[in-house]
Amino acid sequence: MYDLKEIGPALFELPKTGNMKVPGLIVATEKLINNVDFAKPLEQVRNVAHLPGIVNYSIAMPDIHWGYGFPIGGVAAMDLENGVISPGGVGYDINCGVRLAIAPITLKELDERTQGQLIYKIFDLVPSGVGRGQKNSHSLKESDYEKIAQMGVKWAVEKGYGFQEDIEHIESNGFINGADMSFISELAKKRGEKQLGSIGSGNHFLEIGEVEEVFDFETASKWNIEKNQLYLFIHTGSRGFGHQVCGDYLDQYIDKGFAEGLPDKQLVSAPIQSKDGKAYFSAMAGAANFAFNNRQMVLHAVRRAFKEVCNIDPDSIKLVYDVCHNIAKIEEHQINDSLKKLCVHRKGATRAFGPKSAELAKDFQTTGQPVLVPGDMLRASYILAGLGNPVTFGSCCHGAGRAKSRHQSTNAWKGTNVVEHMQKKGVRVLASSKRTITEEMYDAYKDVSDVVEAVEKASLARKVARLRPHLVVKG
């Protein structure tokens, strides 16, 4: 089906055709391939393979779905010397990502009433949904932006939004080197000035649940994770600030004619080493550092809610990890027996470095990095440990991946009280907009267990624990 050739467990090659510079590589099981419409995403995998300097493969993760330009769940590594960087290959929500924290209690220790108070307190403290920024906060000034660019997440921690030990539990220590605010427009700064510490809308969320099952006790114990323990997930990115950065560079690149000859304009790109390429990288790094601070400030507000409602000390809510899933990073990878610097685009894909990776903090040297895979708001989410598989440049899936469009999901749930429906299933959902809930209902997504099965089979990551959501705030 789809002209795919099986080349390993859960690995399929999409042969080179036309002007593709490399073949495609699809991480999936036959079950996923047969059950989901892969035609459009595969066309996008082929399109990405046209980009100059792409190395080895245009890669698709098992949660792949149809995006624009790159598919969601796409990975492309470009040679740093002669490759390109593509703003569309990162996406509008630069450094959209997920962070996972663990509280020192079980969910069952909180009675129904307290759970309700907790979720409403979080809903109150963490702005979510359209237009909900930090009403009472001061606007970010130019000097704040400068510090965010130069310090990454340390900016928020030094301002009291968290703890020093959080920093080592964030991908790249919450800092992408090379950020320069002079490459970011005033419009982007204006969009972002009141958005730090907010969730936003769309598929962004904040979720509380319990660790349902532990698969790898040794790793789970090293990460302070136990069965039945209460977890919280935060999914958000760089908000309007990042969206504007991406849009600004797409406009510039298109105006300069960089999209000529590409099969999709949204793939427009510039040589990484060119002035235009470097400018985008500097701006993107600034937006990525903004996003790390955003998630840090959201966690801080959630810790505050736990203190106020449950009298749980903020420092006892431990950050397990924070991963980016929309980003381009300069990394070293083994290519044909030699180490090569590459610009790895991950759009809807998570880094999954394995044990002994120099990039990882000491807590993860023996385990590999935590790979956070949120599923949907009913069935499950997973914590995996990265295996650093070179085939995917140490990358893994980022979620379940959509199976239905928002339109289809909204139509399917028309006339149903979705909040009541979820409550009956044991999940309390709050959102500023009902449309968001219907668009994001659980059956709009693939079963995340199927996706995780594929990445395990392909040796990208291994299962550590499965999580079950109970309280959800949607954007």
Partner: protein
């Protein structure tokens, strides 16, 4: 000679698609199926004229026209006894010209009715039953709409209307399935109208966009449409918040069978 019995009042009107408010200031409102913008009143007619009227001229274009309702207003203005939503047309064929065309046609067919004295005033009557005008005027709205049908209506009394003849129009946009994002097919007769109709589509999902409508922008390319839409998204985001991140550079214009442009607009959310 026996005078032939006349029908109830006839008129030509436009039915609209809009995002109706969840609640109105009064519960006594006209049923959704009966709401319309009147284009031309035709009085009561005998059966011959009624049958002739069923052949009224189609609008010049089959593409729907669009605009927005800007406020509730009591009518008639001097001593109001009903509430209407005042409409402003911004894209598509000019309804006033169409009314003039209908007038000329009906005159040429010898159909007798009281000719309108006032200029065309697009509005949609929403409440006829003892409205508290001040209450309506204090709860204002601004919502986009497009016309989906031009109908010959016959009044059945009690704000109920029967459609005697319908010309269906092609909608200026349709929401289509896209796995990750929101997508629309946008239709228009020019780059300019594609740009405006795309804004109308966005405002159907997020009403705030109606306050940021740009209708006078010179548009010279498809890329410019996307860039300008993204500027509007940025402005909405700054002022009130936007559920849309951006419109992607995707899809190209195609020409439909009816001769207008179509564009698949994908909006990252």
């Amino acid at each position: 000679m026996r005078e032939e019995k006349k029908t109830n009042r006839l008129f030509i009107g436009a039915s609209v698609v809009t995002v109706w408010p969840n609640a109105f200031p009064s519960e006594e409102i006209i049923k959704e199926r009966n709401r319309h913008i009147t284009i031309l009143f035709l009085d009561g007619q005998d059966d011959n004229s009624k049958n002739l009227l069923k052949t009224f001229p189609k609008p010049e274009s089959v593409l729907s026209m669009a605009g927005f309702f800007s406020k509730y207003i009591g009518l008639p203005k001097r001593s109001p006894h009903l509430v209407a939503m005042e409409g402003e047309m911004i894209t598509g064929i000019n309804l006033e010209n169409y009314r003039n065309q209908l007038l000329k046609w009906s005159e040429s067919q010898g159909i007798d009715f009281k000719k309108p004295k006032r200029p065309f005033y697009p509005h949609l009557t929403i409440c006829r039953k003892n409205p508290d005008i001040s209450k309506w005027e204090s709860e204002q709205i601004k919502i986009p709409f497009y016309v989906d049908e031009i109908n010959l209506y016959q009044s059945m009394g009690n704000s109920e209307y029967e459609k005697l003849k319908t010309y269906s129009l092609v909608p200026i946009f349709e929401e289509i399935s896209h796995t990750a994002d929101i997508a629309f097919t946008i239709r228009g007769e020019s780059l300019q109208s594609i740009f405006i109709n795309a804004q109308i589509a966005l405002s159907f999902v997020c009403n705030s966009f109606i306050d940021f409508l740009e209708t006078n922008k010179e548009i010279s390319s498809q890329d410019q449409i996307i860039m300008q839409l993204n500027k509007i998204i940025a402005n909405v985001d700054i002022e009130v918040g936007s559920p849309f991140k951006a419109v992607s550079f995707h899809g190209s214009f195609t020409k439909s069978e009816n001769g207008f442009y179509q564009w698949e607009m994908i909006v990252d959310v």
